[in-house]
Structure formats: C-alpha cells, structure tokens
C-alpha cells in the first residue's frame, strides 16, 4: 500500500498527498507518518516545494479531522438515545472535557493510531469545536512539519527514521493501553478493599 502511495506522490505531488492525509484522517489505514517523513525527504531532494506541500498537507489533515469530528457530532443523537441517561456516559463526557484537549493534541503526532477514535469521541461528547480545532491544528502542525522536517533532515535515509518512529508510536499506544488496564485494575482492587473495610467483622 505505502509503495503505491509513494509512487503516486512522486508523480502528482501535493494534491495526492493532501488526498491521502485527508482520507487517512477519516480512518483509512494509510501509513500517514511514514508518508509525511518520505515527503520531507522528497522536498530535500528538490522534487516538491516544502512550504506549499506542507501547507496543503496541514490543511487537508485538519479538514479530515474536522469531518470525523462532525461524524461523531451528528451520530450523537443516536448514541445519546442509547446511553445518554447512564451515569457512566456523564462521567465519560466530563472526563473528556477535562482531558480532551491533551488527548486531541497527543493523538495527532505521538499516538496517531488513536487519532480517529478521539475525533469521534470529541464529536460525540460535544467537546467544543473551537477548542478541538485549535488543539488539532497545533498537533497536526507538529506532525506535518516535525515529522516532515525529520524526513527533510535525513534526506535519502528517511526509511530508517520512518521505521523507528512508526515503531515508537506503536509502542506508545501499547503502553497507553497497558497503563489504562493497570489503572483500572488498581482502582478495582482499591474499591474491593474499601468495601471489605466497611463490612464489620472482616
């Protein structure tokens, strides 16, 4: 898949890159980070102008993220009908209000595998769009120009840095899932302990 996409980018330049990151931002399983790093290297080699390519990629990925936020937002009614009255839903909504900005930011460039679910959750929980947009823009700027900049810096050796960053992103995702599991497990154990303390004679 990435080979085919890279061939199209060297043939058609920024417009095809824009289309790839736009569709990727809505959930298509494209190797976006690897492609951005490769494009940085192509800019260094003089195949693409870095400023217009970077701006096109940034505009398209932010548009894709906004659209997936909108999908979550408009699916909200149906989800609220199903879960809206539950206490858990209210708790999840309030905790996304508190941590949503940071979640949006970190999933743009560090844990990119969770970007689409976070967009959908942000829309579904009616996280303010303006706030979402600002965090998204900041995070995607780091993704496009930071990772593209690494590709630019390493030039023809971009494959090595791309492979390392992709693996680090997957490792971070695993650590986050493991961390959530351990945190929930500890909370569960603590609540069991508290219940035992409250029961006299135990």
């Amino acid at each position: 898949m990435s080979d085919f996409l890279l061939t199209q980018i060297i043939n058609y330049g920024a417009p095809i890159l824009g289309a790839i990151v736009f569709i990727g931002a809505m959930g298509a399983p494209f190797p976006g980070t690897l492609i951005v790093i490769a494009v940085g290297a192509f800019c260094r080699q003089g195949f693409l102008p870095w400023y217009t390519t970077g701006l096109v990629a940034l505009a398209c990925v932010v548009a894709g993220d906004s659209l997936s936020y909108a999908m979550g937002y408009y699916a909200r009614e149906r989800i609220l009908r199903r879960f809206g009255s539950s206490e858990r839903w209210a708790r999840a909504g309030s905790s996304f209000d508190r941590w949503g900005g940071m979640s949006v930011l970190l999933t743009r460039f560090l844990i990119t595998g969770l970007a689409v679910p976070v967009n959908l959750i942000a829309g579904t929980s009616a996280f303010p769009f303006r706030k979402f947009f600002l965090y998204d823009l900041f995070g995607e700027t780091i993704w496009v120009f930071g990772y593209g900049g690494l590709g630019y810096l390493f030039g023809t050796q971009w494959e090595a840095i791309g492979s390392l960053l992709n693996s680090v992103s997957g490792l971070t995702l695993g650590l986050v899932i493991l961390g959530i599991g351990i945190w929930l497990g500890l909370r569960r154990l603590r609540s069991i302990g508290n219940r035992k303390e409250q029961i006299p004679g135990i």
Binding site: N11, N166, L171, G181, R188
Partner: protein, 136 residues
C-alpha cells in the same frame, strides 16, 4: 455497583492488560530492531544541498524512472533505452509496474538493470574545492 463481582469489568481489565502487553511486546521488539538499524545513520549537513546520490542500494521498486534519473543525475532516456522500454506512457509507472508489464517472467529484472545502468552512466563526482574567493 459491586466491583468485586462484575465479570464484565474484570474481563475489560484483563483484556486491556493482555492487549497492552501484546502490543508492547511486538512494537518493543520492532523499536529495538529499528533503533539498531538507525544507530549507524547520520543526517547529512542540514543546510547543504542534497548531494548527488551514488548508492544504488537506495533504489526501490516503487520509484519511477524520472525520479531515479533526477536523484542519480542520469538522463531518463538512457535508463529507458537500457531497459528497451518506450519512454512514452511509462514515465509515471514504478519499476515494479514496468517489470510486471515488460518482463513478467524475470522478477526484479528492471530494478537490477536500472542499478547497473546507473553505475555505468553516472557522471563523476566533482571534488569539493574550498572557497578561497571570500573576503577582500
């Protein structure tokens, strides 16, 4: 809610820990391997123009002839001629596509032929001369 007797919650915690461990294991191994490969790499000087590429092992089968031609400073027509492939309508095809279309019986033929042609036709690198004209 009775936390101690909720099997769904217990399954969720166990599932998250197991999936997390699995992903950490797979990507931890991949990160270590990628790091070992990456350790020897040094970026070229950041402000210098990309020098002419001479290492033909960097050629991949997703690349097109015009892309390789620009990267290695060897005219595209020489590469097409060496492959015995018409230039017209083939400029946007990758080496893999060209191989499948023109030499389906020999896997990797186009890639190897392009590498050999570049090695035979690349212009010699000019030695870097220190700038002695600066200053009054």
């Amino acid at each position: 809610m009775n936390a101690s007797s909720n099997p769904k919650q217990r399954a969720l915690v166990a599932g998250l820990i197991l999936i997390g461990l699995l992903i950490v294991g797979i990507f931890g191994w991949r990160t270590a391997r990628a790091f070992r490969e990456f350790r020897g790499q040094r970026p070229p000087p950041p402000l210098a123009a990309e020098p002419m590429e001479t290492d033909v092992t960097m050629i991949r089968d997703w690349m097109t002839i015009p892309f390789i031609s620009k990267m290695y400073h060897v005219p595209a027509r020489i590469l097409f001629k060496a492959l015995d492939i018409p230039e017209h309508k083939n400029k946007e095809k990758s080496l893999k596509q060209l191989n499948e279309e023109y030499y389906p019986e020999v896997e990797g033929f186009v890639l190897e032929k392009v590498k050999a042609t570049i090695l035979a036709n690349q212009p010699p690198q000019m030695p870097t001369v220190p700038n002695t004209t600066a200053g009054p």
